[in-house]
């Protein structure tokens, strides 16, 4: 520290050096950025427009992510006029003409969310800043959806959420640039309650096991609300860490709690593990308070049912969509997905496919990719023929409102995919709620 060297001081070198570098390297970039800013971010000027597909390719939800990617690839083909057209044949009203969007061919780039907020935002930024994606879509977790959605709002890029079921996505954390087609936990609770009442009566004691993150809390809250409204009691609500693997220490206390219904607020591999272990502990063979012990899984998916095998039989839950639906839109989608990949699509694939089509159609309808115009085209948009009956994108919170399916694990499956039996299509009116109850603000149309 003491030896004062002769020659140039560091400070002087830095001064001159930095000035040169900034002059040579930085300045052109600042100017070009300024030039783009007069338009809007990632305005497609060439003959192509790019979607950013941000799906989990590794981690607990990798199965869902892989299926989402298949659905997006199919959607891109259909929008570009390749393949059999899928839901473009059934969607009403339809502006797309099967020649891309606004005359531009649709391309895509992909990223891995790893079901982590930081990783998901990093990959979204890569697709926006480097690859020039005009829209980001996908994901299989509410935590990630909320994180990416707020990033997209800041960047002025529209986000079409994939599978996300928490109320927050279009409630407390809603954004002007974020849109969700999937249903939420409030709707699950509202749809399930009457069925639970009819099947299991109004005097039940429920025990909740809940995945300890955004979605789990949301679903636990919604289910407690709607079951207590029936007259059920909530014995306990216990949080379990995400990806716990072994749930036996959480299931043993259920036996002595006096509860006669176990509600599993788990998804993906967590749900497969906790349900399997609950059945192994003999919960379903028990009698409690003079009633049969029951298990409810409020959010079901066919991919999970496959994992849980025999144990899923007879268990009630809700789902956004199932491939066995007989309407023209579902049939068209299942047909083209099956022809491409050899098996039926999951609900994650369906919601992602629909989201891609809805965005593309809104751009075509607006005649531009300018986000505020596209947002206005989506807000309040009413459509049909996409698998869920008449559907509306509510302007107040960017949540789709449509019928909700209550399903039961199929007792006598006819194939390895025929695992869920739709027992009721709960009409939209029964699951609708006031947009104000969850709070949150959408924010502005224009982003600087």
């Amino acid at each position: 520290m003491s030896d004062q060297k002769k020659g140039v001081s560091r400070r002087k070198v830095i001064k001159t050096g930095a000035a040169g570098i900034i002059g040579a390297g930085v300045a052109p970039m600042v100017f070009t950025r300024g030039a783009w800013a007069q338009e809007f971010r990632n305005n497609p000027t060439g003959s192509e427009v790019t979607f950013g597909l941000n799906v989990p390719q590794t981690g607990a939800y990798a199965d869902e992510g892989a299926d989402e990617l298949r659905a997006y690839e199919l959607a891109v083909k259909h929008i570009n006029g390749e393949g059999d057209g899928g839901m473009l044949n059934t969607m009403q009203p339809l502006s797309l003409q099967g020649n891309g969007i606004n005359g531009k061919k649709l391309a895509y780039v992909t990223g891995d969310t790893q079901t982590k907020s930081d990783a998901a935002r990093d990959s979204a930024r890569r697709m926006i800043e480097r690859d020039g994606a005009i829209m980001i879509t996908g994901g299989s977790s509410s935590g990630v959806a909320v994180a990416v959605q707020s990033l997209c709002q800041e960047m002025g890029i529209i986000f079409m959420a994939g599978l996300t079921h928490s109320n927050d996505t279009t409630g407390k954390d809603k954004r002007r640039y974020g849109f969700r087609h999937f249903f939420n936990t409030h709707m699950s609770g509202a749809a399930l309650a009457p069925v639970l009442s009819a099947e299991y009566g109004n005097e039940r004691k429920a025990y909740h096991l809940t995945a300890d993150y955004n979605w789990g809390w949301s679903q636990e809250g919604s289910l407690i609300d709607s079951t207590e409204a029936l007259g059920w009691e909530t014995t306990a609500a216990v949080r379990t860490p995400l990806g716990a693997g072994d749930f036996s220490q959480y299931i043993t206390p259920v036996l002595n709690s006096g509860a006669d219904v176990l509600i599993l607020n788990h998804y993906g591999r967590d749900m497969v593990n906790s349900l399997t272990q609950a059945v192994q502990f003999g919960l379903r063979d028990r009698q409690q308070n003079g009633k049969n012990f029951e298990i409810v899984v409020p959010l079901f998916s066919r991919l999970m049912a496959q994992g849980a095998g025999e144990n899923i039989k007879g268990i009630l839950g809700s789902t956004n969509w199932n491939w066995s639906l007989q309407d023209a839109g579902s049939q068209a989608f299942v047909k083209s997905f099956g022809a491409e990949y050899g098996f039926p699509p999951s609900q994650a694939a369906h919601t992602c496919y629909v989201q891609a089509l809805l965005y593309a159609d809104a751009c075509q309808r607006a005649g531009t990719f300018y986000p505020p115009e596209v947002i206005r085209a989506l807000e309040g948009f009413k459509f049909d023929g996409m698998g869920n009956g008449p559907t509306e994108y509510r302007a107040e919170d960017h949540q789709c409102f449509k019928d909700v399916l209550v399903v039961r694990g199929n007792q006598n499956p006819t194939s390895e995919f025929d695992l869920l039996e739709v027992i009721q299509e709960v009409p939209r009116a029964q699951v609708e709620y006031d947009a104000a109850i969850f709070g949150g603000e959408l924010g502005p149309y224009e982003v600087s």
């Binding site: 004062q4 050096g17 600042v30």
Partner: protein, 385 residues
């Protein structure tokens, strides 16, 4: 005070030029966009700081991600409570993470070697779980701490009205989300690099190196090593907190996953890959790992097909599925392979590879082909790089 010996000064200047010109020379690598450039600068800083503890002092901490997380949370709270200016945010981040490091270091440094590593790992995992569930009011749990419209922001709102949109982090008008954030982080990285160089050549740094080579012997001379190791721990914790604060500056969202043990392990990998004990090595390691995580993971089969479109179809159909194993979701496989190769063949990390090549070239140019390999001699310079 602000001078360096000539050799160090040259290294420093080259480093500064390399960092500031990253937006240009990273273009061919497909990595020149603000998001990744910011990551490069920030994790480079994190690695420089980690190396002060691991490389200089020889204490392997498996819990440094905890300080990264603390820095992020502190910075976001500074945005929420006071102002969107990044300067107070990073100052708070450094202070709070320093205090936090003092507490953890005070306890953990009672042991050395593997016991120290396990203690830090335990503390980091405790911090993660606290942030994830117990301290939800402070950290917002799994969802992560984000800005809201209702934040008090007392300093900002004393001078301006609440806007319609969420405010953005800005240094006196310069937005921190894009290239502005990169240059801000890059300048801090360069300063941090300079400080690390100064520490390495200072008497304090010599003391740390002494502790690394033989702590017992230092003890026998009557020296109490504890204050030195604790100081090194706190300094490197402050670097980590600063890096965490910068993460929040460029993207104001702090999540608990930043503190997970995988994140602590990643920084160890970065330093080992680049070269323990050198100053530039850890930065290089950080860049390579972040490059793989962000760029390699995004290559899919379509991109590969385009890359090899000049080959005949049959060769392509053979080559592409094979290579696809190593890119996209298989990027960690490539990373692992590379790590194994480096550790086996270049125990001193990539910097050792660089030195070996440099030795060879200088030997060839002076045409003294007999004394080509003298790695033993060069190893001694490792600390002063």
């Amino acid at each position: 005070m602000l001078t360096l010996p000539k050799k160090e000064l040259i290294t420093f200047l080259i480093f500064a030029v390399v960092v500031l010109s990253m937006p240009v020379w990273l273009i061919p690598f497909g990595a020149s966009y603000p998001g990744l450039l910011q990551t490069f600068a920030i994790f480079g800083l994190f690695a420089v700081g980690f190396n002060i503890l691991f490389g200089l002092t020889g204490y392997l901490s498996f819990g440094h991600a905890a300080f990264l997380g603390v820095g992020s949370y502190t910075a976001v709270w500074s945005f929420k409570l006071f102002t969107m200016n990044p300067i107070p945010a990073i100052i708070f981040a450094i202070i709070i993470s320093g205090v936090f490091a003092l507490l953890i270091g005070f306890i953990s440094l009672r042991r050395s070697g593997i016991y120290f590593s396990i203690l830090t790992l335990a503390f980091a995992q405790m911090s993660y779980n606290l942030a994830y569930s117990v301290l939800t009011p402070v950290t917002n749990g799994e969802t992560g701490l984000a800005l809201t419209m209702q934040d008090p922001r007392i300093i900002d709102l004393a001078f301006s009205e609440r806007g319609e949109a969420l405010p953005q982090v800005a240094l006196f008008g310069l937005n921190m989300a894009g290239y502005g954030g990169f240059y801000f982080a890059a300048i801090i990285l360069i300063l941090g690099y300079f400080v690390a160089q100064k520490i390495a050549i200072s008497p304090f740094g010599m003391m740390l190196k002494g502790i690394k080579s033989n702590q017992n012997r230092m003890g026998y001379t009557g020296l109490n090593t504890k204050p030195y190791t604790l100081a090194a721990f706190v300094i490197s914790g402050m670097y980590a907190g600063l890096a965490g604060g910068l993460l929040a500056v460029t993207d104001p969202l702090a999540g608990a996953e930043r503190m997970q043990w995988t994140a602590s392990g990643e920084i160890v990998l970065m330093v080992v890959l680049g070269g323990i004990g050198t100053i530039f090595g850890p930065v290089l390691g950080a860049w390579i790992i972040k490059y793989f995580a962000n760029i390699f993971s995004a290559i899919n089969e379509n991109i590969l097909h385009n890359m090899f479109s000049f080959l005949p179809a049959s060769v392509q159909d053979f080559l592409v599925p094979l290579l696809a194993l190593f890119v996209g979701e298989g990027w960690e496989l490539t990373m692992g392979l590379m790590f194994v190769l480096v550790v086996v063949f270049l125990p001193g990390g990539l910097m050792e590879g660089y030195r070996r090549i440099a030795v060879r070239i200088s030997a060839m140019s002076s045409k003294e082909t007999k004394s080509v390999d003298k790695p033993a001699q060069t190893d001694k310079q490792a600390g002063g790089e």
